[in-house]
Symmetry: C2
């Protein structure tokens, strides 16, 4: 008999079926035992009256993996309106050691550190599993938006020769006796691959040796990186970002449908950096937006345009990485942008420099040596189109979408300053 998932039981009313999953909960009453079995699609209620089978169920523990055969019977009070009757029950493995916290309660009562110490079990709770499903859906939507637009998926090195792009916050490793570093981003590689495919994306891990223990930082996270060539300026990049986010949100809505998903407008409202300072009532000479300023920008978007999303463009060059393209009309400002979602920065991107001599000058101005960048910059001597791109931190995206207070709640096995296992 083929196994039926719990979500599909209503279609089998009146029929004998086989289900399998984890013992989610048991209620041992005087004359009847209710066994709730959990599988990947939900819960199934099994009604046990046969004394021999009741004895089997009584000896089981929560989380033991079982197989149940029985007859599907309609019951309006059961989950999904059906239950299994006349069952036989068989364990598919050893009797489980009960987990250190109850998985059948609406919320996990254990502290986040305890949940993370026992991640493999904590993730079985819907509050922890759903964010991972949202992440998978968002990633699928990301690709579904980019594939038809001519983007090629690439895979780039995660171990690099030089500690570029900030220098600090890199993990050092031993590469066959030579020093090497974990890549902080695929930035340089995705730019080089614009020279090959014009449009590329990568979904992969990036590594930041963040010495800060905050609710927003992970030492490894999944970066959704996009880069495209033959752009007029950063506005072409922003248009791709808007459509990519729309694709991600559509797939999240279609597959998981969590509460509170935002609408994304066809055209996301924009503020130049200087306007953003004014909207926030901040010092007009400021070089960056403080968290309170970003919140004010978010409120402006809702108030003036009914939008949860706002683009802030033209950040000062002084606060952007050296590869950022300046605004040709106003070179102290850049052709870059941040996307503010509900008052918090969600995505950073912009147009990049594409001329070799501009890179040499920018590195000199930043007081950075050229040598660590040489093998990367060499490609710019051989013809690179105007280009730009952006990167979305998957875990941060999911956390902001779901309103999670800590990015560790939406990562399967987070890595940070203190956590290296499981």
């Amino acid at each position: 008999m083929q196994r039926i998932h719990s979500a599909h039981l209503p279609a089998h009313a009146g029929q004998p079926v086989r289900i399998a999953g984890w013992v989610h909960r048991r209620r041992l009453l005087k004359s009847v035992t209710f066994l709730i079995v959990r599988d990947a699609t939900g819960l199934a209620q099994v009604v046990v009256t046969d004394p021999a089978v009741r004895e089997v169920v009584a000896r089981l523990t929560e989380e033991t993996v079982v197989e149940v055969t029985g007859t599907v019977v309609a019951n309006d009070t059961a989950p999904a309106g059906v239950e299994l009757t006349g069952p036989s029950v068989r364990a598919l493995g050893d009797t489980a050691v009960p987990p250190p916290f109850d998985l059948y309660r609406p919320a996990l009562t254990a502290t986040l550190p305890t949940q993370l110490d026992h991640a493999a079990v904590a993730l079985r709770h819907p509050r922890r599993a759903t964010p991972l499903r949202v992440g998978a859906a968002a990633t699928a939507g990301f690709r579904a938006a980019l594939d038809p637009a001519g983007f090629v998926e690439v895979h780039t090195p995660k171990v690099v020769e030089s500690a570029t792009e900030s220098g600090a916050n890199v993990f050092a490793l031993d590469w066959f006796g030579r020093p090497a570093y974990l890549a902080q981003s695929p930035q340089f590689y995705k730019q080089l691959l614009v020279g090959v495919f014009e449009r590329v994306y990568e979904v992969g891990p990036v590594f930041r040796a963040e010495p800060h223990d905050t609710a927003r930082h992970l030492a490894q996270y999944t970066s959704l990186d996009v880069e495209l060539g033959f752009v007029a300026d950063h506005r072409d990049v922003m248009a791709v970002l808007r459509d990519t986010l729309a694709g991600m949100l559509a797939e999240v809505a279609g597959r998981v449908s969590p509460e509170g998903l935002p609408e994304i407008p066809a055209r996301i409202p924009e503020l130049h950096f200087r306007e953003a300072l004014a909207v926030a009532g901040a010092d007009p000479g400021g070089l960056d937006l403080a968290p309170a300023d970003e919140r004010a920008v978010g409120q402006w978007g809702v108030r003036e345009h009914g939008s949860d999303f706002v683009f802030v463009t033209g950040y000062p060059m002084a606060k952007r990485p050296f590869y950022t393209h300046p605004d040709p009309a106003d070179p102290a400002y850049s052709n870059s942008f941040d996307l503010i979602f509900r008052g918090v920065e969600l995505v950073t991107g912009g147009q990049r420099r594409h001329r070799y001599e501009d890179y040499v000058a920018a590195l000199a101005a930043a007081g950075e040596p050229l040598d660590p960048y040489r093998s990367y910059l060499d490609a710019f001597r051989h013809g690179m189109p105007p280009h730009g791109g952006f990167a979305i931190g998957l875990e941060r995206f999911v956390a902001q979408l779901l309103g999670a207070g800590n990015v560790r709640e939406v990562a399967a096995f987070p890595r940070d300053l203190h956590r290296l296992s499981p």
Copy 2:
């Protein structure tokens, strides 16, 4: 005027258009100049007769990025049957330094090391770009096969606390002052996540500190990992692998259509390990298949079943990792398999153990300490279903599919014993 890609020019015959790309080649004849422009979709021929424009083109170099406006005119002798006439030509960046090898010849004449030293430019040649497109298509097909079958995409840690699974061949790194290691595979994590989602896959980098400089090994490669629960045995895993490969091949055929793609039979022929030894004429007491034996198995598949693919099942437990599930009927042999493609191992997989006590016993039998595995094995005490899975090395898959002699030819920026840049 919107930019048109070269592949779409035939639809614009008679119209003025704008194209953009790289100067692929120029032919400066007595009274006419031919400019070949390359973009992501192919080549476009531009016919220049205006002396002023001929002078502009004469000063350009190969690989300079240009924008050309002109009129599309049918010409049976031009690439794709059309060319651009009456053009204006404008460089979109600096005049390119010509690359160290010609990109317009049918094959790259530079040695592979020279190509890899200048990867960003070498990859612009179709012989190097096509394998990356095949890899992207194969990965898309992998997901397209698994998503509708209920698999959830996951992202797992690439930095781990313990050097498990072989101990040797791991890269050590400094994690905030603590020793840590790059993950050699997501094996343990994908197993744990079967406890959450029943069916999972991951596309991500894995790291092997291979001290051998061979044509088949990379120190970082992209692993396509699959794991599924509630299997009867390894045969359920093999069925998923067959369908996954069919999805991958279909997407490669649809997007890139390289020559020599294999047909995958609805049911891949199988040999038990002992039968494989007999087919190869090898020592019946052998514990593994030598390369010559795998070739013989491949020939058997073609001869007896007209199949490029052959499953070999039941490898001796002595040669399989400790998490491999034994064959209950014959415990010296395993519920594992290799998939042989054209005489070479392409995929390894099998059923895994799912009982905690079996792991403890297997590690003890292997003389391995339990401690490094503790945070992983703990999940098995909390209920794990029978499960199994497989892993496909993307670069090796593409290399075997295309008949590439060296796996470095199909990786964008390969990493090995000697190579850490670009």
